[in-house]
Structure formats: structure tokens, C-alpha cells
């Protein structure tokens, strides 16, 4: 198992090192150390973009894994529960009203994105509390409802934006890894490591909830509290990614699924695979996005969905065949 993790780590590092050299303008090793347009492209566009892709992918994949553990179901994701669209709606509102206030050095879009994500979480928990039913079904149904709600908010603002704004908004909503500077990247990089640390630190708790509410409760875990705190934490990480990259689908769904089968149910290994695979996959998808149809930079969300959807179907079919 450790060998497999090592191998994937090696592949991820290779990917991180090689990807910035590839693109519509190929760059060779010597070019990057002189001041030239190529070295500018390399250091100011491609390297940060690659790092951002890796970090965002890793966070999204981990958030999928956490959702799945919390709901004991391998189809639960932040997208399905409305957290991503909440974050997106928050970001759209901030963009529309140019709410560029910043809080402790963190940008306004990010704060609103986080508030949007949190409001979605609070909504689904409020519904569960009101009808005194906290089954997966309740959460998913209210997730679907809040998803529709926030999607229509996004469409509404799109409609009242003027044309040029609408276009950039649409572009953002398709998910894209574009770089504003190294500041954001450092912020997300730290978040991804903190997230990884938390997921490993709360191994016992995540294992307990994934085994079932009654089982966890009877071993002494306060399941309701653990679940709500986890979701509030999760919104923080998902909000950060969505506010910088837009909602990027399928990574959160597909990656934990694959990692689980590679990890053979070992928690630590599954987490490691999720982190590395999530990051690696988004870097690859982004490489495809910027080289597939030159000189167009396709939104990476389109690439992940295009590749992710059929891949996920294949996985499901293979799994159903196995259980037959």
C-alpha cells in the first residue's frame, strides 16, 4: 500500500514539474531562467496555474470524501448538497455589487462565497431539525431544493448583469483555473494542508460516522455535533476553492470513489490517494483545457464534466456487475 502511495506521489510530483513546460507555446528548460516572454509565461502564468490546479483539485476531492463519510453514501458531494452552488451564488453577488471589502486580508468574493456555502449548510440542517429527521434522504432532498434556489439566484444576476459582465460571469461559472497572483495560491495551499491534517486527525470520528449513526452514537460520539461542525468546516474549504476557481464538478464525486477501491478500505491510504489523485487529475484536466483547442482556453469545469461523467458511469457499471 505504501508503495502505491509512493508511486502516486512520484507521478504527482512529475506532473507538477512537467506541466508548466507544456502548452500552446512549448517552453524549454533554458528559456525559463532568462528574462523573456517565455520565462514570464512560465513563472507568472503556468507555474501558479499548475499549483492552483493541484491544490484546488485536492481540496475538492477531500471535500467529496468527507461528505461521503458523513452521509455513509458514496454519492454525496458538496455539489449535490447545494454547498457549491451556495458558494457560487455568494461569489456572484459579491461580483455583481463589487463588494471588494476585505477581511483580515481575505478578499470579499471569498467571504461571500463562504457565507453562501454556510447558508446552504445551515439550511439543510434547519430542515432536518424542523422535521426531526436527519436521514441522508432528508439532507439530499433539501440539498436539491437549495441547489435550485441558488442556481436561480445565479441566473437572475446573470440576467440583470450587463453583457460584458455576464460573459465573464458565465466564464467563471464554468469553472476555470486562472491566476490572479501568488497570494491566493499560498492561501489555498495552506488550506489544503490544513484540510488534509483535519481529515487525518479525525480519523476515528470519520470512521465511526461512516459506520452508521447508531453505531457511532453507541461508541460515545456525539454524531449530530460532529456532523454540523464538519460541514461548517467543509464550507470553509469548498468556499475558498469555488471563489477562486468557480464550481468545478465531478472531482469530488469520482476521485474518492476510485481512491476507496485503490485504498482497499484503509482510511489513511484512501485519504492519501484522494489528495494526490484529486490534485493530479485537475492539473491534467487543466492541461487538456488549455491545449485541446488552441488558442482557446476551455473552462476546466467543462473538461472535468466531459471526462468525469462517462468515466463515472463506467465505474458504476463495473461495480454493479461485481455485486451481481
Amino acid at each position: 500500500m505504501n508503495k502505491k502511495i509512493g508511486l502516486l506521489l512520484l507521478i504527482a510530483v512529475l506532473l507538477l514539474v512537467c506541466t508548466p513546460f507544456l502548452g500552446i507555446t512549448p517552453i524549454d528548460l533554458r528559456g525559463i531562467f532568462h528574462s523573456s516572454p517565455n520565462s514570464f509565461i512560465f513563472w507568472h502564468l503556468r507555474v501558479p496555474r499548475t499549483i492552483l490546479g493541484f491544490v484546488a483539485g485536492a481540496i475538492l476531492a477531500l471535500s467529496g470524501l468527507v461528505c461521503q463519510n458523513l452521509f455513509k453514501n458514496n454519492l454525496a458531494t458538496p455539489d449535490l448538497l447545494g454547498i457549491s452552488s451556495g458558494a457560487a451564488a455568494g461569489a456572484v453577488i459579491a461580483l455583481k455589487f463589487k463588494l471588494h471589502l476585505s477581511f483580515l486580508g481575505i478578499g470579499g468574493v471569498y467571504v461571500f462565497s463562504y457565507l453562501g456555502a454556510i447558508s446552504a449548510v445551515l439550511f439543510i440542517f434547519l430542515v432536518a431539525r424542523l422535521i426531526r429527521n436527519s436521514s441522508l434522504y432528508t439532507f439530499l432532498m433539501s440539498g436539491v431544493a437549495i441547489n435550485f434556489f441558488y442556481s436561480s439566484i445565479i441566473v437572475f444576476f446573470q440576467y440583470i448583469f450587463d453583457y460584458s459582465d455576464t460573459f465573464s460571469l458565465l466564464r467563471w461559472l464554468m469553472g476555470g483555473i486562472s491566476v490572479a497572483g501568488y497570494g491566493e495560491i499560498v492561501f489555498l495551499l495552506i488550506l489544503s494542508i490544513v484540510f488534509l491534517f483535519f481529515v487525518l486527525l479525525f480519523k476515528k470520528e470519520f470512521l465511526l460516522v461512516s459506520a452508521g449513526d447508531d453505531f457511532a452514537r453507541s461508541r460515545g460520539l456525539n454524531v449530530a455535533n460532529f456532523r454540523i461542525y464538519s460541514f461548517l468546516g467543509l464550507s470553509f474549504f469548498v468556499g475558498a476553492v469555488v471563489s477562486t476557481c468557480g464550481p468545478i464538478g465531478f472531482i469530488a464525486l469520482v476521485v474518492p470513489h476510485v481512491s476507496r477501491s485503490w485504498g482497499k478500505s484503509h482510511y489513511g491510504a484512501t485519504v492519501a490517494f484522494t489528495f494526490l489523485l484529486g490534485g493530479g487529475l485537475l492539473v491534467l484536466a487543466d492541461l487538456l483545457a488549455r491545449t485541446l483547442v488552441p488558442p482557446v482556453d476551455i473552462p476546466v469545469g467543462i473538461v472535468t464534466a466531459l471526462l468525469g461523467a462517462p468515466f463515472f458511469l463506467l465505474l458504476l457499471i463495473a461495480e454493479l456487475k461485481k455485486t451481481d
Binding site: 453514501n73 459506520a211 447508531d214 453507541s218 461508541r219
Partner: protein, 251 residues
């Protein structure tokens, strides 16, 4: 050890359990039986602190069950729910170690005591070959065995079980009952809910009959054709085989 006084539990306006008074002593093996929907599982979940009692008192070691923290309660009793479906893959080893959760704080590694009782549980329940298996791929009998071993590793005086032999084949059923009797012999207090009284009749020493949420009987185990007829609406017979008391439906 467990005292229940004037328990009334409602779902909405409909009473599920009413007028329950009983007390269970250390090392009792109580068989709780009744028809489907009589309130057996609800009673067990209340005793386990899974759902609030409603009116009345449920005391465990003299303290109201609602006043225990989840962790404290988990060092006193272990509850095995009826359903043992796992939605996600999880290793048998991790399920067993979950039994040590109430004793471990967040940064604490496994203590010697944790390791010791884990090893003892694995040995006693013969789980050595299953440790690295995924719970989802085990047979029903193996799964129940692992869950019972978790309760053992949890090192609690009271074990509550909801229909532990549902859907098990005869071999696994007998094996599980033997393990339960074994735990009882070690001094554990066992409360077991089942509508299959035939299976557990010889193991138990106390019984509690529920009918429509009310207690028809609580006390020492005894064979009473009238009681069983009242609860199940069928005729039971008793016989002795190899000195063991056996009851069966005679209809």
C-alpha cells in the same frame, strides 16, 4: 443496574410505550419479546440513550440516562442495532477499534489496555483472519460476530442487542448464542430484543413481555402458555432435551 419507572414514550400523540416499571440487576440476561410493533426496539433504544425517554425515569447505576455524556454512557453500555448494513467499505479492524473510542482522546495513541482487550476480543471471537477484510464483504454471521466482539472490546458491563440472529443460518445462530452465554458467564448484563423466544429461552434468566407498548410480564424466566398465547396468539409447548428446557410453537 437499570431502573425504569413510569416510562411513557409517544410518537406524536400516539403512545408507543406506556406504564413501564422494572429494574434489572447486574448479570441478568433479559429476553425482551413481543410482536412486531410492540415497542421492543424503541424500549431498547431508550435504554441505550439513543432517543429521549419522554416521561418517566430511566436510571443506569442510579443516574438518569439523559444526564450522562455520550462518552460516559459508552463506557457503561454498548448497543447493537438491528441493521448491520454498511454504506461504505470499512475494515473489520477499524470497527473493532471503534470499541475503544470512549477511552481515547483526540491525540492519544492506543494504550496498552486498548491493545490488550483488542487482542483478547480477536482471540475470543476467532476474528484473526478477518481483521483486514471489508465489513461489507462479510457474511451476516461474521458481521454479527464482529459487532458483538466490538461490544466486548468496548469493555462495558451492559450489552443491548436488537434481533441479533435475524437472517442468520442455524450454525451462525448457535455460535452467536454461545458467545452471548459466554459473555453472560463473564458477568455481563445482557438485554436482548427478539420475537424468536424459542431461540433464547434457555439462555435468559429474566423476561419482559411487551404487548401494544404495555408490559404484560416482567420477572424471572418461566414457561407460561397463557402469557405466550396472550402475546403471540399462538400455542407454545415445552419439552426437555438433554436437561435443556426447549419451547416451540405448537399449532
Amino acid at each position: 443496574m437499570i431502573e425504569v419507572a413510569g416510562l411513557l414514550h409517544c410518537a406524536g400523540a400516539r403512545p408507543i410505550l406506556q406504564e413501564l416499571d422494572f429494574s434489572i440487576r447486574k448479570n441478568d440476561f433479559v429476553l425482551i419479546f413481543g410482536q412486531n410493533g410492540a415497542g421492543k426496539s424503541t424500549l431498547l433504544r431508550i435504554l441505550a440513550g439513543m432517543i429521549p425517554a419522554g416521561k418517566g425515569e430511566v436510571l443506569i447505576n442510579g443516574k438518569n440516562v439523559a444526564h450522562y455524556s455520550k462518552r460516559e454512557l459508552a463506557t457503561l453500555l454498548s448497543y447493537l442495532p438491528q441493521s448491520d448494513e454498511f454504506g461504505l467499505p470499512i475494515l473489520v479492524k477499524d470497527i473493532l477499534l471503534a470499541g475503544r473510542y470512549p477511552y481515547r482522546s483526540i491525540f492519544k495513541k492506543l494504550s496498552n489496555r486498548d491493545r490488550e482487550i483488542f487482542a483478547e476480543g480477536v482471540e475470543r471471537f476467532g476474528l484473526g483472519d478477518l481483521l483486514m477484510r471489508n465489513m461489507q464483504t462479510l457474511s451476516g454471521g461474521e458481521r454479527k460476530k464482529v459487532l458483538l466482539a466490538t461490544a466486548f472490546i468496548q469493555d462495558v458491563p451492559i450489552i443491548l442487542l436488537d434481533e441479533p440472529v435475524n437472517f442468520l443460518d442455524p450454525g451462525s445462530t448457535v455460535q452467536l448464542i454461545k458467545m452471548l452465554e459466554n459473555l453472560h458467564d463473564c458477568g455481563k448484563t445482557i438485554l436482548l430484543v427478539s420475537h424468536e423466544i424459542e431461540r433464547f429461552f434457555s439462555s435468559a434468566n429474566k423476561m419482559l413481555a411487551l404487548k401494544n407498548g404495555r408490559m404484560s410480564y416482567f420477572g424471572n424466566k418461566m414457561f407460561s402458555r397463557e402469557l405466550f398465547r396472550e402475546v403471540f396468539q399462538v400455542d407454545f409447548q415445552r419439552t426437555f432435551f438433554d436437561g435443556k428446557e426447549i419451547i416451540f410453537v405448537n399449532e
